[in-house]
Symmetry: C2
Subunit: 907 residues, 2 copies
Amino acid sequence: MSAENSSSTKFTYFFGSRATGENLTEGKADMKALLGGKGANLAEMARLGLPVPPGFTLSTEACLSYYKSGEKFPDGLDKETFARLATLEEVLGCKFGSSDKPLLVSVRSGARASMPGMMDTILNLGLNDESVVGLAKNSENPRFAWDCYRRFIQMYSDVVLNVHVSQFEFLLEDMKSARGKHRDEDLTADDLKELVGKYKRKVLEETSQAFPQDPKEQLWGAVGAVFRSWNSDRAIHYRKMENIPSDWGTAVNIQAMVFGNMGEDSATGVAFTRDPSSGERRLFGEYLTNAQGEDVVAGIRTPQPMSLDQKKRMNDGVKAVALEEKMPAVYKEFLKYQELLEKHYRDMQDLEFTIEKGRLFMLQTRNGKRTTQAAVRIAVDMVAEQLISKDEAILRINPYSLDQLLHPRLDPKKKGTPITKGLPASPGAVSGRVAFGTAQAEAFKAAGEKAILVRHETSPEDIQGMDASAGILTALGGMTSHAAVVARGMGKSCVVGCSDLHIRYKDKLFEIRSGKEKIIVKEGDQITLDANSGEVFLGVIPTVTSELNKDFEILMGWADELRKLKVRANADTPHDARIARQFGAEGIGLCRTEHMFFEADRIDAVRSMILAETQEERERALESILPMQRGDFTGIFREMKGLPVTIRLLDPPLHEFLPHSTTEIEALALKLGVSFDRLDNKTKSLHEHNPMLGHRGCRLGVSFPEIYDMQARAIAEAMIEATKSTREPVQAEIMIPLVMEVKELRMIRDRIEKLVHGILDKAGLGKQVLIGTMIEIPRAALLADVIATEADFFSFGTNDLTQMTLGISRDDSNRFLPEYVDLGLLPEDPFSSLDQAGVGQLVRMGVERGRKTKPDLKTGVCGEHGGDPRSIEFFHNAGLDYVSCSPYRVPTARLASAQAQLRSNRN
Amino acid sequence: MSAENSSSTKFTYFFGSRATGENLTEGKADMKALLGGKGANLAEMARLGLPVPPGFTLSTEACLSYYKSGEKFPDGLDKETFARLATLEEVLGCKFGSSDKPLLVSVRSGARASMPGMMDTILNLGLNDESVVGLAKNSENPRFAWDCYRRFIQMYSDVVLNVHVSQFEFLLEDMKSARGKHRDEDLTADDLKELVGKYKRKVLEETSQAFPQDPKEQLWGAVGAVFRSWNSDRAIHYRKMENIPSDWGTAVNIQAMVFGNMGEDSATGVAFTRDPSSGERRLFGEYLTNAQGEDVVAGIRTPQPMSLDQKKRMNDGVKAVALEEKMPAVYKEFLKYQELLEKHYRDMQDLEFTIEKGRLFMLQTRNGKRTTQAAVRIAVDMVAEQLISKDEAILRINPYSLDQLLHPRLDPKKKGTPITKGLPASPGAVSGRVAFGTAQAEAFKAAGEKAILVRHETSPEDIQGMDASAGILTALGGMTSHAAVVARGMGKSCVVGCSDLHIRYKDKLFEIRSGKEKIIVKEGDQITLDANSGEVFLGVIPTVTSELNKDFEILMGWADELRKLKVRANADTPHDARIARQFGAEGIGLCRTEHMFFEADRIDAVRSMILAETQEERERALESILPMQRGDFTGIFREMKGLPVTIRLLDPPLHEFLPHSTTEIEALALKLGVSFDRLDNKTKSLHEHNPMLGHRGCRLGVSFPEIYDMQARAIAEAMIEATKSTREPVQAEIMIPLVMEVKELRMIRDRIEKLVHGILDKAGLGKQVLIGTMIEIPRAALLADVIATEADFFSFGTNDLTQMTLGISRDDSNRFLPEYVDLGLLPEDPFSSLDQAGVGQLVRMGVERGRKTKPDLKTGVCGEHGGDPRSIEFFHNAGLDYVSCSPYRVPTARLASAQAQLRSNRN
């Protein structure tokens, strides 16, 4: 199908049946690329015989053609669309723009992936001065009809004609005060009719054009607006965040209107087939009577529960009225559909429905967003229910989202009293500074601080602010409100519907009113969200690690059975080592010895070592560091008993250990008993223009072999001590950093190997130490075949390898890297996810060449990419033996490894 | 032949004939690897029937075996050696250690390449208390015999037994004062006999061992000392300097003694078959009567000329006695041999000879060291003489030495009056600070200053000092003295035999005494050597560029005919461009636009541009820079008319253009009319941790496209102006620096291409601008196939590519790189000569992948490696189209390219 040759392209796809039962549906669920998610699922439901209001979808190809031809509708689209409209009129027995039986439609965007950044919906399209009369007559409810018309003008003008919604809200407010009314509902049909007249004049005033009366003109305006919303700033931002290609385009769904706002026997609602927060297998949803769909999502009124069971579990459920009580028959019918859809899609569904005068219509089904915790539980449950296989269960969990599971909880002992409570919409616990808008949230983030975005409710305009924040708190909205859905998708802690919260944007503060007390919190104040309970606290409250639940352990067990890539952790202390083991690390892939150097009780010994002017002085200082290092290593070896521990010898340039300000230098000179000048000169003499490319890594080992001698000795002696207590052989691996040339590796290796083996031999221990190297300089990857002759293992240091291969200093990259990603010059930050095209070539080269020399060469990764799922898949495919990442990322890496294995099995 | 299996290895090679004429010679000239240069050439001369004292060579394999087995002589070496000695005794009719007809031998080292760092010679070995009597009898000269013995003990003890020569010199001085004699020659045979006794007691005192009387013990002592001298510090230093592998080893030549010190009918000398300084075709040499060989080389007595012609050309030749006058028959015989040897070796020869009682012996021939000027002349002459081909002529010139030719001369207008004059031993002109020893010379060098090493005479101990100095001045010695030979080899300016020079090492000064005047020059004072004339000046005298002579032009013409690799120059100004053309550059490969930014009259406009806070402000500042850049480019285009000019757009980070000290910032703020704080903040905000990997290159073009716009506009407008005056189409090539990704190249390219073509089109000029990129980030080489889609050419920036591929900041490398080279971890400074193993892979990859996309992609190199001959050969083999280097290196590059072509033709 070619979008170029538009005359032969089919752009529209019908869904729905004739009254005769003849099913006219053309699309189905697997046509998401062409019809978008919403369109494909509407077709699928129609195909299954569910009560879907009929309609048709304009395909994504129409959108792409629109952009290709410079924002013009492709040839033939109008003819096809009008033919579809004719079928629709025929099926429903009504007519577009008719004052008798008017056809009203909704126009909704629907891309392949759900995209909150895009225009969502225009309702009631087809209303004009004539058809509003027909609607009033047919509904026997003129107030409803004029309200629909009023809403349509407002929505259409805002989205299509660029007349901001506030312009109409002013008019509405004026009308209410003129009439002395407080609520919209109190306005009469005549009031609304008058308001429609005012709305139309406002449009004429603002656009110099009358509000379009021709329903077809309305339709093309709406379709064009949907197409253009694909390239709105918000949509682009969201795509970037979610890695959605910009050449997918969006489809447009044009569907007959049904009305949940036709009275108390009408309603609209959303529901999940399982609990999206916990994953429990029970219907979970909310509805509002006499409302249009957007009212639920927007969170303006407090919605009601679906089932009696759900009502029971609510805090203040007594006042609530479940749909199960209110409309038992409809509820039963709905139960049938939701079960059918979950089985059909073999996944938890997020459903939208409308009840028009007691008649149920299904408006949407899609795989529901869920918390990670819920995702894990649902996947594990569905395996038990034989709906899906273990492999599918593994593939269903987004490894990036596991962070969320492992997010710390508030320390229960330190929680204190909350100032208020809302709905726990997206779990976790987080502290940060209050921000009332995107700009402020981004400012806090840029300053290296965490922000908590506090809003009445959120809308797609807040996406960037939510992205910049660590947590989200809203006063309005339920568990399915915009804030809740988006936060869960982002894996951010979120509390919604916190009704005590009174925000005064203008004064940049919010008040909590509970009883007599009034608490005022200003922008920039620290608060803490416990999004597991919904509680909000003043100040910063310490957190503790989440325990991993049973479902998670089961899923991880499946993943561990599958994956070939081992997962280790980067850990510098016995404490880190313990956490790493708890999270399932199979060893330590990077133990940075310099972190031990920085500890307060030893930094001065390190500084004396650096200030030493002769080898003897240096050795004396090293003697005092030796027992400390030995102690650290012993502790780590004990924690990791039996598992491999890779220790990297000293890496950073020596000047990192010295103070730089005059005051600090003065203080240290006094403390160490050396002259200010000597210390100052040393600091200056160690200054480097480009320390990243300077005198560090094994270059220090070449210049000052006694430093590496001390470290090797500490390792060997710690091995002996640890073996004594654990009675398990220690698997120590000594790693030489920043090697660029086999000769430097050989020189250092020879020296420390002799030393370590000498010590171990004396203690009657075998030669169980491996000596390997980091591959973190491009030259080392290029010469991996030669370097492998002296290395027992390779560990790719992809942080430095990225810096050198791309010529980007990570410390300085903020001046241009964000712009590069914004402009699309780089697909993402290469320090977050491996640059597979460039750095990846060197990693593959390093593995292949190294193994050419030593077929059983052990290879791993210890850069931060070791915890990034996309990068992990690359490392799996490149044939690495293990990845090493921060302890909290270990589960992510285990899952990502299993997924990589599954995907490579398929190929 | 295996050195491992020593019992079956042949370690010794005889040279010489029996009295019957039977030639026993086993070696020949092409066995240098096994016999060393000296041994192979002795064998060759013996083979040719020249009068060579017979002897034999212990092969380099014997030396390597010695080292392999931990400094032990290999099995079987003794048996073989004694068999050779027996033959030698038989041939000569004398006996080792005999008191009747004693065999005396010299023991000399001889490696594959001449190595001044090694032990040279022990003479008269075989003398002991008995054989000295035989020598006295046979020579009929007891004084001579005892003097030989005395010298032997001194030399042997110094070299083999580690009793320093000064110990013996004290005894000699004592003896002379006791006898009231001034010169050694005045001592009688009895005096010397007594002295021998004292010498032997000194040896016993110092070593607790009697001086060895057994000639065989003496022999093994001497052979071991030669072997060990291969690994002396000096030898190792020399090898490093000259890139001689340490696993070559040295041979040992054991040869029957002949005596140039048997009276006035005896002599010893050295000669070159052509003038080693100018290359003129005439015998040039020096001899001393009644002297041993070392006396000439050491430069202690002033030697005499070989020919009458040579005598005529001497400044003070009147007093001299040419060998041609002194011993006409011997001279004639010598003439015959030297002609034969030059024809045989097809190269200028450096000969050593001894005349023993009127009989001529040839002791050495080898290709003579020469100045570059001489090398060029000799090569060109020998082609005319049909001795060698043009190809051979080209291959004979060391391209590294061409620098010497292009070294500046003293500005004739500014020369003034010299304070003294010596012999112009190695040409050029240089100024520097007086240093009297190695330590001081190295200290000046380390401080970034030039040193002139001033010595009575130089010895191998001074090699490091000479290496550290820019020029050498000696009071003693002739054109073939140690200083002269080594300086020519190093390509350093050198003046020798400056007899007015009186050095007082202790007082760290020298005096020049001429007539009544006395000039005192202290260590650290600046002097200037004009080593083309031999004149010495006080202070620093400006220099001018050497003109290239006719021979050079002929040779370059041959090179240009041969080579395929084009040679361009790096030039930033019309002046540089003119010099580049004079030296034969075929275009400009790198014109750095930022150098123009730094000029005093425009730097402030550049700074205003940087301080601009809006795009408009920036554009205003750029408007004022535009005409200056346009003017620069116009000038360069005019100079290079018709030849390609590659202009690199702005590359360095902006902070390089701002001042950094508080005083400078204050001054500038005042000048620009901005506040100190604003300027200071800007400077601080632009600070980078690793500027090498920071916001520079095309990253500036991405952030501030208006800067590149201005530069592109300046180029296009300059093309129009230059075309008007030269009426030749300008070949402009715009080069985008620091590209890592095709998208950034595409974005910048699209923008400037449109701009430039717009301007050129308006002027009616074609689209003759190429737009290409530097390949200087490893990723760019890895992704060269993709990048080539947007590049008309690649220019490898091997400076930055080396920094990033090796992870070495050039600015910081001095802290460890010298140590790396010293330890042999890197073969040489990778910024001087391309790291072919590492960076070279990326260059090859870049060319291959780029050409896969665009078979006719133009590729070049513009790093400093473009002027390094070894690197040039690599670039030739990698298939590059051109190299670009500094204008002065252009001839070097032209020659190196031709040599690379010749060598690749052979393969």
